[in-house]
Symmetry: C2
DNA sequence: AATAGGAACTGATAAATGTCATGTTTTTTC
DNA sequence: GAAAAAACATGACATTTATCAGTTCCTATT
């Protein structure tokens, strides 16, 4: 059988920790665990979500496709984060697609369980609200960055973000390896532009690469670049 | 004396409608009404907010200053909207400045009143949560727009947005008149670029202008332009 | 180990956008 | 209502970024 939510360490990182024992029990009883292979979608833009996904392992990109065929990645969700809350709460179909960047393990929690708790447990609701407030702030920051920083600055910033949020492996490469295309979709630029700038960073000794993997060599200088030096 | 919240029509448009009679009474007793002159700030980026502002009249721009000295407008808040919720809920200093675009009348509601209700009244919390979910979706859309549409498309879209959200005056001009600089700060471009495109739209008969006022002549064509024709 | 297919990369060029300089209207203020 | 100050407008040019067209390099099969 599946492990029980009560014992799941993941929930310590998300709003589920504000649930009562009984509520958590109900989640446990109604949840299903899924494995998603790299490249597979959890859901697609426009889908009606019947619940939320709690990430146990792996990373998902939340992105939106535009008419010109390019994807904009709006957020990377990792272990401990809950995906799909926004749509479930607003009772709208989702505005984003969620696709696994590497193999994932997620718990699917049906809408009813969440909605019921939202109506009964103000602590839980407040906790979810706090998370959403945080996401909104981050979204505002992304807007300002995209509109006021150059592609070079945004890529430098993305690397620092990846280091701070996902860490490095034993060999000193960023633990989360994104394809060049995904990198360009995070910063909102053409793939070729991203590649050119990555080459440039390498030439200047700011980073080193091995295949698609990227390692940060001069964190200080990258940070200065982001600030506009 | 001031009018009482119970009788305020404005609250029908925002989360305050989910408050109980007693809660609303308390808001009424603790609120203060302020008039803000055009161009004056409600608060500045980095301020610690002691409460939220409920807009009774006028429009405020929520913007963030970047190191290069340019402002990015993230949201326009008008009658019925509550400003500053995010910071109060997350208990952080605000990441945005709020500046009056025209003369405003706002009610200031102290933090304690809001926080207390958030902890006691799940309906209110849920209502606020729904609003925030909506804002988050809009922010995601802005991110995608800014990164994937041309400046021309974004300006066309901004005009349609202004018409849909603020309407037109008797003479057929957009009811909310923004300076060219504010327009450029909404779409995230240089003021000169915005001006050039506005001239271009005028030349093509899509809009007409009188001083800084702008009127939409060919809504259909503007909408097509946004979609990329 | 050969190979097929997708990423990653590079160059040349075009298009979009920003910057600076300067002149012209509006709007505000006295 | 004239003077001063903003805001608006336009030209010339620089810079950034996108696009297209290839080539090379990985990497995952068989």
């Amino acid at each position: 059988m599946e492990s029980r939510c009560e014992n799941c360490i993941i929930r310590q990182f998300n709003s589920l920790r504000a649930m009562s024992k009984e509520e958590l029990n109900k989640v446990s009883d109604t949840k299903t665990t899924k494995k998603i292979k790299k490249g597979q979608p959890l859901f697609q833009e426009g889908d009606k979500l019947n619940g939320v996904y709690c990430v146990r392992n792996g990373v998902s990109k939340l992105s939106k496709l535009s008419s010109n065929g390019k994807d904009q990645i709006v957020k990377l969700a990792t272990k401990g984060e809950v995906i799909g809350q926004r749509s479930v709460i607003a009772e709208e179909s989702t505005n984003l697609s969620a696709i696994a960047i590497n193999d994932m393990e997620v718990c699917f929690i049906p809408k009813e369980t969440i909605v019921h708790t939202l109506q009964k447990n103000p602590n839980f609701t407040l906790e979810v609200l706090r998370h959403m407030a945080h996401d909104l702030k981050e979204a505002d920051d992304v807007i300002v960055n995209i509109s006021q920083k150059t592609v070079k600055q945004r890529i430098a910033e993305a690397f620092l973000y990846l280091k701070n949020n996902f860490g490095e492996d034993e060999e000193g490469f960023l633990a989360l390896t994104l394809s060049r295309e995904d990198i360009s979709n995070v910063v909102g630029t053409a793939t070729e532009s991203a590649i050119r700038i990555i080459s440039d960073f390498k030439k200047k000794g700011l980073i080193h690469t091995s295949g698609k993997r990227i390692g940060i060599k001069e964190e200080r200088k990258l940070a200065e670049l982001v600030e506009g030096f």
